[in-house]
């Protein structure tokens, strides 16, 4: 059972230095608001885990709060590389970071093992790849049914997962539509879960469509309502992906000082997400607006 709180109090209450964090999302519903609050709160020894470190991880790394990144694809989707991530690895700027590397499937299979309390998950990937040699985590098991060996991954259980959905009730029963990525598995694998939503809704709304529920209050410890919390990522049906911002980051992040200046302006320079959105301005918000297109209704029946 969870409680509805503000982002600032939730982050400072929940996230301790030394924790492993999973900010979930595959392109969709990436919790930028939470990431920025983590930067403002100030840490220096966080392990960030995530299949697809995105701009938000680049920003966290640039701010100096990260000591390790566990990942499977660290890039700016459709644009290029993550330059702060690379600077940390290639040049130790602002600090060296350790890395642990999976493939996408290896990563989500490991989260599944964490969520389902399995000692390992078998995957038909890694064989023939040098990734095996770089990781003690990836091992093999002989099938007892006469097949050859199959690679396995161990469970990943982050200390904290920050997951998102378009709407949830105050308990954290959450409806998500569009691309779910690994939000569910991250929520179920983590010790403590913060759920960020575009809007709170009634439990009746959730109960009207239980098949839409991606994870239930069981998995959630804190609910934070944070409109536009995913910008420049997007919330399906609420606002568009700000692709221009992803392209801009490629320029901003080329240089460490420019990156710091960006953080000063857009993260340290605002108190919270509301100020960030005000700073974005109405014109940008209007550009990201999307016309409505409702799903065809389904009848659950009044049993």
């Amino acid at each position: 059972m969870s409680s509805v709180t503000t982002m600032a109090s939730t982050i400072s209450d929940v996230v301790d230095d030394g924790d492993s964090l999973y900010l979930a999302g595959f392109t969709h519903l990436i919790p930028f608001a939470a990431g920025h609050e983590i930067i403002r709160t100030g840490y220096d020894d966080l392990e960030l885990i995530r299949a697809t470190p995105d701009l938000v991880y680049d920003q966290l790394i640039a701010s100096g709060c990260v000591s390790k990144v566990t990942f499977s694809w660290a890039g700016n989707p459709g644009v290029g590389s993550l330059r702060a991530f690379r600077r940390a690895i290639e040049d130790g700027v602002p600090n060296p970071i350790e890395t642990e590397e999976y493939t996408h499937y290896g990563m989500v299979a490991a989260l599944h093992a964490g969520a389902a309390d399995l000692p390992f998950m078998p995957v038909r990937t890694f064989a023939g790849s040098d990734l095996v040699d770089q990781s003690d985590a990836i091992r093999t098991v002989s099938s007892p049914y006469g097949d050859d060996e199959i690679p396995v991954v161990p469970p990943i259980k982050p200390d904290v997962a920050i997951v998102s959905a378009q709407r949830s009730d105050e308990d954290g029963n959450a409806h998500l539509w569009g691309i779910p990525g690994e939000q569910k598995e991250a929520a179920l694998a983590a010790e403590t879960v913060i759920c960020c939503v575009e809007e709170l809704c009634s439990t009746e709304t959730i109960r009207s469509d239980p098949n839409r529920t991606l994870f239930t209050a069981d998995a959630v410890d804190h609910v934070v309502e944070v409109p536009y919390g995913a910008h420049p990522s997007y919330a399906q049906g609420y606002y568009d992906r700000d692709n221009a911002a992803y392209l801009e980051w490629e320029e901003v992040s080329k240089d460490h000082e420019d990156t710091q200046a960006w953080l000063d302006e857009w993260v340290y320079g605002v108190a919270d997400r509301r100020e960030y959105v005000e700073k974005l301005g109405a014109e940008r918000l209007l550009d990201l607006e999307v016309d409505s297109k409702y799903a065809t209704a389904i009848d659950m029946g009044d049993y």
């Binding site: 694809w73 660290a74 890039g75 590397e101 996408h104 990937t125 779910p180 999307v290």
Partner: protein, 251 residues
């Protein structure tokens, strides 16, 4: 009509696709190639993205594989876990597209590091889903500009297995399929029975010497090397007017 290298790569990649293929689509050339094929010879092509969207029918070009335009109007959307488990590993993907910083003689691909893993000259994004695409799709198509630094005899790091060392059988490691074609800006390559790359078609105006000069090993040429077909006017019109009207990938 005039055309660019990229446009030729798009039409050449489209030709590799068959009707009813399920394709794991990447951004850029693969996306344009799939959409072109779908409008021409492969109207039943099923486009699946790494983000889990199935049967996407985007009204505009996505910047990333997870753009909302790929979700809205898809026939289905899977979680990453289900997408990789049931579509890729389950054997439902006929064709996967791959790229990378290095492609070696046996079609092994590096998208992890240039230089030493622990002290890299360039840290690349990593596998993402590439290793599982290379391992589980029934055939893969590699897309890359042909440059010597991109085609070394041996990759600095094998992220995604091709034909390995050409002695180990993929099937013995539990790997399905394998690289079927390499589409470059100078030529199209296939693989011989041992899994070694072999040039099968030269693009118009390109010589064998041009290809050899841009390759990091002594590359084989088929006995009957042919010329790559040029894009037709209709293909170019489709690409420019319908598939990439804003010139995102083609300018």
């Amino acid at each position: 009509m005039e055309y660019t290298d990229t446009e030729l790569m798009v039409t050449a990649a489209a030709e590799q696709l068959e009707d009813d293929d399920s394709v794991l689509v990447g951004i850029g050339v693969p996306n344009l190639a799939c959409n072109l094929a779908k409008r021409n010879h492969a109207s039943n092509l099923e486009m699946i993205y790494e983000s889990g969207t199935i049967g996407s029918n985007p009204s505009s070009l996505p910047l990333s594989v997870g753009d909302p335009v790929l979700a809205s109007g898809a026939v289905g959307i899977e979680s990453m876990l289900n997408g990789f488990s049931y579509y890729l590993q389950g054997g439902r993907i006929d064709v996967g597209f791959l790229g990378g910083a290095q492609v070696d003689k046996y079609g092994n691909i590096n998208s992890t590091v240039i230089g030493d893993y622990d002290d890299p000259a360039v840290r690349l994004p990593g596998s993402g889903g590439a290793c599982e695409i290379a391992s589980n799709a029934h055939r893969t198509i590699i897309i890359s500009p042909l440059e010597e630094r991109r085609f070394p005899e041996e990759a600095d790091f094998v992220t995604s297995p091709g034909y390995l060392d050409a002695e180990t059988e993929r099937a013995d490691l539990g790997l399905r399929g394998g690289p079927d074609a390499v589409i470059t800006d100078k030529a199209i390559m296939g693989f011989d029975a041992d899994g070694e790359m072999i040039v099968e078609r030269l693009h118009p105006g390109v010589t064998e010497d041009d290809v050899q000069a841009a390759t990091g090993w002594e590359i084989q040429f088929a006995d009957d090397v042919e010329r790559t077909r040029e894009p037709t006017d209709e293909e170019l019109r489709l690409i420019h007017e319908e598939l990439d009207p804003d010139g995102v990938y083609l300018d």
